[in-house]
Symmetry: C3
Subunit: 663 residues, 3 copies
């Protein structure tokens, strides 16, 4: 091991699957990895059938050799618990491990993630293989960290609708509510005669005649998140015991809301995620944010804000300080970084020349301490043969290889991302919003992203953090879609508003912790802070607009959603112009607190710019696709467009980056 | 009770759910309802779990108090049997009550309507709770009427594919056909070797390899309608026995064709329906009748003809005279009337100012004796928290409240709607048409609506009645889509044609009572009356047209469907211009009988206008969205457009109504 | 029997179902058929319930009479085994015959094809009814041939996911691979820990969490094809034994890829197919080949190349010589020929005047020895009442009747189609391509069809043949989408390239026989022949293009897919212009071998034209919709457009044909 244990600059690595190629290639691969400037290799993901070919018969020899080969070449190793792919013999012995889908059908063996988080048998085997690996490799010097499992929830598996899940859900509810009276009251089960008189009556929220009570689904999603969390906690406890001093992380996915990532991440040292910018760009299509033109403009790089949103989200996932030597936040890793074409979008354009550098530098600038390319060599078997790697199927270097070779990690020193703007996020609000979007043009991610994009277009760095996280250091707090407000959260926001500008989006405080609406209506517990209450929300079809007029005369078209307010203490700064809301308040302000009731990208940008101006955060309007990020004294300027952009007298070539201290 | 038992003017009411709010609100709510001008309140819908918290343990106290509170405030009460929401304890004890979906899966508890009409256990409990309620409240003075259950068929539950349904279906078939030979012949089971040799071989018409025999599905839909009818009849018999002198009705849904509403309504005093004009407007999208522009024009009011169609449909559902004091038809109720935003369309625009008056006045003009707003206060729990009420969540009056307050029911005297034009409707024709639409651009409702809309745009009042109803009083009979013709129906139409103009649309008389085609081809039993037979039908893709030319030179583009005829006695008034049907008859006339073979809104309007001219019904071409209706000597003129309209020298403001006797 | 056993000209026939009409019509029908110029009638399809009304009780009387009636009128008879519609009594006795869908649900009785090819019980009854029919009619003089079953795979039944299928699949795999080690290696099961340690662990490839291993699905599709083939072989063996001298064929469907038709056709004398040009035109929509305009232009005829593709496909399905008297290839039949409107497309336009002659003449020109119209009289019962026949429901002659009457089969002498151009096809390549299309704009059929259409637009006749078929007689061999290349296939193509020009399309040689990629990457085994290897494939969203520039300066826009190559021996004739592939090879040539890497209809046409020029095949650029075909010394020129076309000084009227020897 020649690498320093506490790196000072961005580290690069790669995901490799030595078990998928003959062993005579391994040494050559390791040497090439090292020569390419990589510092670590991630191993053993999905390797359960090779580590334990038959129950209780472990085969460590190949992984011993693989690790030794990597170590000999000077690479560090990140190991994965292989539980995302339980082997066929285990399923054959215990078919009750298989998860049940929302449609009531058991999902069978043949892909991956075919396991129910509520299965006690699966849990037992998960602990057993984790312990066996940790005993073998936990204290090996080359092993610097662990990834648990892989991409929790992939393939719609965060929830299972199995008998095991039902039994566990009933127990969870009994522990949460104590009595059925309490549950019936919290859920509002008097509605449609849904009251329960026995815990055994409680069903899973699938396969009902139509939509079930949102409170029912909300608790099932909380329960399911807890199941994922417990599963991970069991593995982490074993790794902490047997592999001290090594980090433990998990590789999440982008814009994935099926479980509460904050809850699940509680036991990790830091979060990681798998970044595939050209695939994730699909989100823009799904949210109908923009026409296909915009998606095509960024077809070969992805959109900068789409990717950065997830960097900032996962940087904020774990917020305690664990690396005391560095005196900074734990950061995050990009555990899988696209370095060529992906295989899972409807169409899969080749990345633009320069995209790998663009993505790697951006990840660093948003706080990544390491970027691990997926994958070393394109797979010649299985479901992903159309996915690229750094090497082609024929083992020649693919385009991304040359881009990685040209990277200089020395440009990218580790350090703090010091954002003064916090964007608040909450998975429970997401669930409630998306259960009942009430308009076909918006959802929680799309609305939240609109605020994030506006902030990034104004040139400021943003922390995306949990709604209940410490807000003491922020000058501006933006809460785009906090539908769910508890009394504690209300007090927390009131405290923040004493020192920070707080900007809320529509639908704020529309739901309580149990998924009902406040008895006092929107804004419920926030009513006094905001100094207003809801009059009406208008849900607009695509093509309909509500015009919002500022007191100064600016007019902005709102789309999809428009709320109006009755003010009790707040001032009205924007009103609706005509239509059913004509003359009513569209944007209000009460001291430090602002509420934007209309979904209008222009209005959002204008209000956020004014807010940033007040706090001396010096916003700069950036052209579409041009973005600035700062980390540890270094500023990164990027042009993600496929065309050159003139900006502040400079010509920015297409798909280009500059990192400099002078900025 | 201060209200008269036989009202002389439109009565307003509201749907309220006192069990969903603390009892200390009830008196205030009742007083406010009375002050608003409401005359009645609908109670106890979905309240089974509160009326019978455990099997056989009834809790009447709260409903006693709720009724007493309403009565004390001077309100009349309409009670509902609560069977649309069987409680959890019942389902737990008898899971066989749960219905089975078309996909073969049992639907679970958690929403509403989770009961199989074919379940004898459910039937038993339905009778039991109905009897218990009727014994308690049946003769209470305040209780003026009953609503059975709620919205039969909601959530795709009019059919169940359960073992109980299968057994009942086989019995029903055996009673209908007597022998399998008769069934095999009626269904034409020689086709594809579908002949049965044992009643136990007969399957439900779901989950076959592909489409089943239309005759099979037709009989299953008839059987399922009978199951719904029997279910309702059982409740009504109990209510007749224990609550004499009170009306019994059911609240149906708009454009809902899953069961034969005439068959199911046979035991009612009058029909009711639930009118949600902005939500029902979706039908226009689904039928592809018009571009999104038209839907947007009426996004905040709904389209006048879409709503009026259902008023006229349900007015004609029960045609016997039961209120002898008034000497007029039984009319209908709007049991749930939208008075703000709904929550169930893809997007849910806020109603325009004036929409509540527009809807209420229109309902009256089309024959409603009462309009009951849904709901008093917006729900703070359950699936419908995003649905509005007269009060907001925070109990302040919402927009609709003020509009109701401004209404003067004295403007709206009860009286007869005296239409001279009948539009014939038949659920069996609907089923056959929609099972095999043969073109992606049309279905039974869309074709029927095109004729209705044309008639309404010509200013005439229309009775929508069953194809076999008494036609003696009509000058014009329009049968837009009577696909199914029995010999009896043919004789009935021949009789009508002796005194009335009869206009048929395409696909008339294409199917017999068992769903086959006539052996003599289209028009089968109507061939002599029409004096023609079918040559060909042309089914056109969107964008294709067939031009129809009148003898006088007018040219009209037909879309989606075009039939041509061989005339044996009829005259040809319009011919196809070019294309495969070029030169062939497109519209024919044989004395009083006209057939329009091409689907062309212009042609339909032109032919109907000429027909009305001949009958001195004085048609007037009205602008889009402007409509005139008459009831009991009063004429209502409305402009449903979001913009003002100049018409006959008058300026009609947007969303406006006038009711006057002078008209 | 007056007809000659070895016809010299095209024979016409009709599909008739005498069991569906009263017997007193039969003689009249037969006389009318004969008078119309028909030579044969197809009988007994789907007639199982009439032939064997109860188990073991055969009723031959009606079919005896039907055959006798046809014979008496001078018609030959083709009989069908009725196994596509097992009767209700058989299913009731053996419900295990029912097939299981991909969703895991058993498909029920009520349509057709409700049988599992893997069911040994079904197989037994299939053999029994076949034997009974063959014993009764096999040596009857009037019976000239047999059709087995009907449209294998219709209704998504080529695969069944039943317990019987699972057991048979496991046995098939064990026979194929011998050991699980071999299977695991072939499938690459180390990927995602999919390795099996017991044959009983192997699942069916449905209902997994997500996509299963393509190798798994590939073998399941092979297995399922074998099941269909064995089913047919069992019937054919009985027919050969009991009905010597009669042909045996099966009527396949157009563009149907669910099983390997070459494998299944091995036991036939020749293949047949069911040609419905206006319905099959839907394929153009599904492939997104062209805008709706093109589809509308050909809405009333279908597109000539869409129909001709299937003619050429099925002509090449059986390639041995069986009719020694004629000394030519066995040809094919159109067993069901649309002669009016179909009932199964979203919309079903009426055929243009002249379409029946257009279709019949084209079928002949592409090698059909017989064309059998579907059906004699439009059905008055069952699922197909909206489908036309030669007679209307009312038994009057429909439009097609007159067109058939006007046909002169004497214009259409039988003879060889002597194509010098072979287009290579392979169902295994189809399966692999369509499992992982990687772009939303292309699939195997669409890509293959693009090459076929280009060839046809250049005026040449094309043989569509299996990739491994004898290529010795061809001057040009086009392999548009041979994804799967085995070593044997590579040697076969190398041999062909010694004498013929060979043109490959994109994705060639991307997969091995087990569905993996070659370890040496694309082109694997063909690398030396082609003299190049893959650099990258670019998968483009709709609206994105890659411009390809020829060395001579021609520029062509590629859509959906663009590959670039590293040349090791080949020359580059076209390069990409800009974008990520800018400057790289788009079309390469190595001696006789050409690879077109970009999907561009213009480029394909240009390259194929140049290739044809080199081989003196004299290509002629034909206008859209105008096509030329040659058979046995006679040339057929057709204009399929709805408008007239000027071509080579001639005016071709819309929807018109000329057959002449002078051409």
């Amino acid at each position: 091991m020649t690498s320093d244990p506490y790196p000072t600059h961005l580290e690069l690595g790669v995901c490799d699957y030595p078990e998928q190629v003959p062993a005579d290639r391994w040494a050559g691969y390791a040497a090439a990895q090292k020569a390419l400037g990589l510092r670590f290799v991630r191993l053993a993901e999905f390797a359960w059938s090779r580590l334990e070919p038959r129950r209780g018969e472990y085969d460590w020899a190949w992984l011993d050799q693989a690790i030794a080969t990597s170590t000999a070449a000077g690479l560090k190793v990140v190991l994965c618990t292989p539980t995302a792919a339980p082997p066929a013999w285990l399923i054959a012995q215990h078919p009750e491990i298989l998860p049940t889908g929302r449609d009531g059908h058991v999902k069978t063996f043949g892909s991956r993630r075919h396991a129910d988080f509520s299965s006690s048998v699966f849990r037992e085997h998960s602990r057993r293989i984790t312990r066996a690996m940790a005993e073998r490799y936990g204290q090996m010097e080359a092993v610097v960290g662990w990834q648990t499992d892989n991409e929790f929830g992939w393939g719609d598996t965060a929830q299972s609708y199995s008998p095991a899940a039902l039994a566990a859900f009933r127990g969870w509810l009994e522990r949460r509510y104590g009595t059925l009276d309490a549950l019936n009251e919290a859920w509002g089960n008097v509605f449609w005669s849904m009251e329960y008189t026995d815990w055994e009556q409680l069903p899973l929220p699938n396969r009902a005649v139509a939509e079930v009570n949102p409170a029912h689904t909300l608790d099932f999603l909380r329960f399911s998140s807890d199941q994922v969390a417990e599963f991970q906690e069991e593995q982490v406890a074993i790794l902490r015991e047997l592999s001290p001093g090594r980090f433990v992380t998990h590789n999440y996915m982008g814009f994935f809301g099926a479980f509460d990532h904050y809850r699940v991440s509680g036991c990790l040292d830091f979060a990681s995620w798998d970044s595939y910018p050209t695939g994730t760009l699909q989100a823009i299509h799904e949210w109908k944010l923009t026409g296909p033109e915009l998606a095509h403009d960024f077809a070969r790089t992805g959109h900068p804000d789409v990717t950065a949103f997830n960097h900032d989200l996962y940087r904020g996932m774990v917020r305690r300080t664990v690396t005391q030597e560095q005196g900074r936040s734990p950061g995050f890793w990009v555990m899988e970084q696209q370095c060529g074409q992906v295989n899972w979008a409807p169409s899969n354009p080749l990345p633009a020349a320069g995209a790998v550098e663009l993505w790697t530098a951006q990840a660093w600038a948003h706080g990544a301490d390491a970027v691990s390319y997926f994958r070393w060599r394109a797979a010649t078997m299985g479901q992903e043969v159309l996915h690229s790697g750094l090497l082609r199927h024929n083992e020649t270097p693919d385009r991304g290889f040359a881009e990685v070779a040209a990277l200089d990690p020395g440009q990218y020193p580790l350090g703090e991302v010091s954002a003064r703007v916090a964007l608040l996020h909450d998975y429970e609000s997401l669930w409630l919003y998306n259960m009942q979007p009430h308009t076909e043009g918006l959802n929680y991610w799309a609305q939240t992203f609109a605020y994030y994009r506006a902030l990034r277009s104004l040139g400021v760095d943003v922390d995306i953090i949990h709604a209940d996280a410490d807000l003491s250091g922020y000058a501006v707090v933006v809460a785009p879609a906090l539908t769910l407000i508890t009394p504690e959260r209300a007090r927390h926001l009131e405290t923040a508003a004493q020192h920070a500008k707080v900007v809320f989006g529509p639908r704020t405080a529309f739901r309580t912790a149990s998924g009902r609406t406040p008895e006092t209506g929107q804004f419920g517990e926030l009513g006094e802070l905001i100094g207003a209450s809801l009059l009406n929300y208008d849900s607009l079809y695509a093509g309909m607009t509500q015009t919002v007029m500022g007191n100064g005369g600016a007019a902005h078209p709102a789309q999809h959603w428009a709320e109006s307010y009755h003010t009790t203490g707040a001032q009205t700064l924007y009103r609706y112009h005509v239509g059913p809301l004509g003359g009513e308040s569209a944007m209000i302000r009460n001291g430090n607190v602002t509420v934007i009731g209309a979904h209008s990208t222009d209005l959002i940008a204008e209000v956020l710019q004014a807010t940033l101006n007040e706090t001396q955060l010096g916003p700069t309007r950036l052209p579409e696709g041009v973005r600035v990020s700062r980390r540890g004294g270094v500023t990164l300027l990027q042009n993600w467009n496929a065309h050159e952009v003139m900006w502040q007298g400079q010509t920015l070539p297409p798909v280009s980056s500059w990192a400099c201290r002078a900025w």
